[in-house]
């Protein structure tokens, strides 16, 4: 456990050194800029649009970090040959993989906490002084705590993307890992369509393949409650927990797979 924590902290420190958190400045500028511009462009929908932009940017920035840092997590160590002295020490390969993964999750968590605080701050300033009767027409209050549910599920979504990136990172080049990870992410967004594939195709075999893909591919659409939260549609805690549990099991499978692949590689 101590080894995993050490690897994770090293990854976090490396992220700081690699200026990964510079994206936070970009995020803050985007949000503040958007909040100023949107008031001029829309018909009184500032709060709704800032929520949309804030949640989408949180997801998108996190996605870039998860993919482009995730694909280098293992492959960079192998490329630099820094894994060789590392495995001379008493560290298991599973600990290395899990440590790397948790390190990136820690980076993403720090990132998302700052983004969430920035989003709430912009919403606070935007809604300040707005009369109560106008606020009552909004689908949800500006400082709606339910936004945290959407942010939490974005984090779960990113945790899953990171696990996919780490899996590919264990045996493929960074470029191919990026292509595969993005491919699976996009395919996972269309899962709902795969479920209904039998309604489109006449071939039972194609329908069966569609159904298998539906269950095998990660269902990323499950983690997207941004629209519901922005419109004040209740998202039950049970739904959030069930989605998180699904992601946790899927992530465990991916990390087991990554460990098996990585264990079979020869670093002697």
């Amino acid at each position: 456990m101590k080894t995993i924590a050490s690897v994770a902290l090293a990854v976090f420190r490396e992220s700081v050194r690699d200026r990964v958190f510079y994206n936070l400045v970009l995020f803050a500028v985007l949000l503040v800029g958007a909040s100023i511009l949107i008031g001029q462009l829309t018909a009184g929908q500032d709060v709704k649009i800032i929520k949309d932009v804030g949640l989408a940017a949180t997801s998108l920035f996190g996605l870039f970090i998860a993919i482009f840092v995730g694909i280098n997590l293992v492959s960079k160590e192998v490329e630099r040959r820094s894994v060789y002295p590392l495995f001379a020490k008493p560290i298991r390969r599973s600990e290395f993989i899990v440590g790397k993964y948790l390190g990136l999750l820690l980076t993403l968590l720090a990132n998302m906490v700052v983004m969430a605080v920035a989003l709430y701050a912009v919403l606070f300033f935007l809604s300040r002084g707005v009369p109560a009767n106008i606020q009552s027409a909004w689908d949800a209050p500006a400082l709606d705590p339910a936004l945290l549910k959407a942010i939490a599920l974005i984090y779960v979504d990113l945790a899953l993307v990171t696990a996919i990136a780490v899996l590919f990172s264990t045996y493929s080049s960074p470029m191919l890992s990026a292509v595969f990870t993005i491919g699976i992410y996009v395919a996972g967004q269309f899962n709902t369509d795969l479920r209904r594939f039998d309604q489109i195709v006449s071939s039972p075999a194609a329908a069966a393949i569609g159904r298998v893909c539906y269950y095998v591919l990660p269902d990323f659409s499950r983690f997207d409650v941004k629209l519901a939260v922005v419109h004040g549609i209740p998202v039950p805690a049970a739904y959030v927990l069930a989605a998180a549990a699904y992601a946790a099991i899927y992530i465990a499978a991916l990390l087991f797979g990554a460990t098996v692949i990585f264990s079979r590689r020869d670093f002697k």
Partner: protein, 297 residues
């Protein structure tokens, strides 16, 4: 090269690029390949899939485009033929990407129903958009009320309008004034007083844009009352000066008016010197007035 020099060179190049860009905008005409009026994705289903998990932001972008398109067409110079061709497709895309985007249905319906040239004059599309909203949120009484409004104001179908107000009144959370409004519409539809009652209620709305729209309608109703009063004066002038052209100056000089009458936006009413017909001027914010509402009895 020192670091300071490199920074200075970078800043200089950037400054030169900006200056050249500004100069090109001013002096060199860009080839006409940029067509902002084109809508590359027309299928809402495709847009929904292409947006991946970012439908809400994509809906916001299409909504802003819809507002800009409407504004650009409406404020276009007189020589431009206003088509509002993208308005409905943009609103359709917006509401498919975000089926709960309330303002896109409600404000979109106002845009679509607006009489030409201030809008496309498509109340049928306005109703279809609101029906789409009702399919997504069947309990949203505001959409049903707005359908009634389109029947009332644009189609002058008071029976259908009353039926919609009645249906809206039966929905959960609907205000108590909707049911009497349905009755008044059915009994006195087409009369300015019932229209005034409708818009006075809408002017109490929490949505600022809906309030503004209702205030404009109330101002139009007031203008119609004023025109009726002015018509009596011009008719009196025509009786006193048969065959002479009617102008505000002449009517005022005859002592029938204190001066040139202005509408609530500060623009003089338009008077046809030959026929004596009065309406709001094309330059008025109140133009065009709805045609057929009857004066109070």
């Amino acid at each position: 090269m020192s670091r300071a020099l490199a920074w200075a060179a970078a800043a200089l190049c950037l400054g030169a690029a900006i200056a050249l860009h500004a100069a090109e905008d001013r002096w060199i005409q860009k080839p006409a390949i940029d067509r902002p009026e084109l809508l590359y994705v027309r299928s809402p289903a495709v847009a929904r899939r292409a947006a991946l998990g970012y439908q809400a932001v994509a809906a916001d972008v299409y909504w802003i485009r819809a507002i800009q398109h409407f504004g650009q067409e409406r404020l276009s110079p007189p020589g431009h033929v206003r088509t509002y061709a993208l308005l409905h497709p943009l609103l359709d895309l917006t509401t498919t990407l975000d089926p709960y985007f309330s303002i896109a249905y409600r404000f979109g319906a106002i845009f679509l129903g607006e009489q030409y040239p201030d809008g496309p004059g498509r109340p049928d599309q306005a109703i279809a958009l609101l029906q789409k909203g009702l399919a997504a949120q069947p309990q949203k009484w505001q959409y049903m009320q707005d359908v009634g409004f389109v029947y009332y104001w644009h189609l002058r179908d008071f029976k259908s309008a009353a039926a919609c107000f009645e249906k809206a009144a039966a929905m959960p959370g609907a205000p108590t004034w909707l049911r009497p409004l349905a009755a008044v519409t059915l009994a006195e539809g087409g009369h300015r007083e019932s229209a005034r009652e409708l818009f006075q209620q809408l002017a109490q709305s929490e949505e600022p844009w809906l309030r503004d729209s209702a205030r404009l309608r109330l101002a139009q109703l007031d203008a119609m009352d004023t025109i009726d009063a002015l018509r009596q004066r011009t008719q009196a002038f025509q009786r006193q000066h048969p065959g002479e052209p009617v102008t505000w100056d002449r009517v005022a000089a005859a002592g029938l008016l204190p001066g040139v009458p202005l509408d609530s936006s500060g623009v003089p009413f338009a008077l046809d010197p030959a026929s004596g017909d009065i309406t709001v001027a094309r330059s008025s914010k109140l133009f065009p007035l709805p045609g057929q509402l009857q004066a109070p009895r």
